[in-house]
Symmetry: D3
Subunit: 67 residues, 6 copies
Amino acid sequence: MPYINIKVTDENVTKEQKQQLIAGATRLVVEVLNKNPATTHVVIDEVHIDNWGVKGKQYSELINSQN
Amino acid sequence: MPYINIKVTDENVTKEQKQQLIAGATRLVVEVLNKNPATTHVVIDEVHIDNWGVKGKQYSELINSQN
Amino acid sequence: MPYINIKVTDENVTKEQKQQLIAGATRLVVEVLNKNPATTHVVIDEVHIDNWGVKGKQYSELINSQN
Amino acid sequence: MPYINIKVTDENVTKEQKQQLIAGATRLVVEVLNKNPATTHVVIDEVHIDNWGVKGKQYSELINSQN
Amino acid sequence: MPYINIKVTDENVTKEQKQQLIAGATRLVVEVLNKNPATTHVVIDEVHIDNWGVKGKQYSELINSQN
Amino acid sequence: MPYINIKVTDENVTKEQKQQLIAGATRLVVEVLNKNPATTHVVIDEVHIDNWGVKGKQYSELINSQN
């Protein structure tokens, strides 16, 4: 505890970026809530762009319409 | 806000069906709660049929036993 | 299966509105994916407006700044 | 209802182990809370070892540093 | 890791029952996947019976119709 | 998108701390993934200390045993 879940679209997030997200999220709860890094879990979910919707539309279609 | 998560088994949900789920879920919170489509996020998770259980059994096994 | 989770801010969602959300979400997966209503679970989470953030700010503060 | 979600790292969990997790989790809520197995859903999420962090580090890196 | 989430309806689950759920879920991943209890987190969510739906109906209404 | 969920135990997290968590989590995905703050949602869940388990025990009991 804590448990932090970061959901993003599956758009080539690099291993290095994932490490930055994990380190940054852990640092955040350590600094703000004085939590223990050793018991702080961070899970990153990468969601296919067909599977994420906003404005009632698939993110993949929103991207296409902008190109 | 709102955030809607739809978890289904990974049984060849088509891109078109995903668009219908996203549009339908967004329309639902717009009509019932007067929410803004632009800030309504919908995420669809497709779960392998070995990874979903009901009645204490894997969904894959329940399907096999019906065939 | 399916399992549908609807997260909204805790802004006096009435019992009747919750019933409409549950009925609408169930009807959606029945119509789009031909799922069985009897095994379709819908869970509504109501999140305190201090606990939901967008644009880097608490929703409660965004509301205050609009009033 | 209930709905049980088990998140583990993606380290070759076998189909048989998944069946044991599903059966065990179902038996747990039947025995402790007298729930109905037929309406108890269990979902197993397998998370890539780059996507799970503890101690501010990716699980993949923690494993490497131990080898 | 692992992280186990148990969602049940808010029907007076006692502190002792919660302890049994936590112990049982932990024992399950230790026995099946040889996980470390010290890094196994279990979170129990209790959902209001108006907020859980199955068969397109609120659980509270299903209970009423049975009484 | 993204959607970030921070689960912590219900131990008097102040409104100000929640604002810091929301601002920090948003800043993290802006800096690392160049995401748009306006579409970045952060939800904080506060879990009762009886409902969170680690080492097979309720967090409330672990705290008691340390006092």
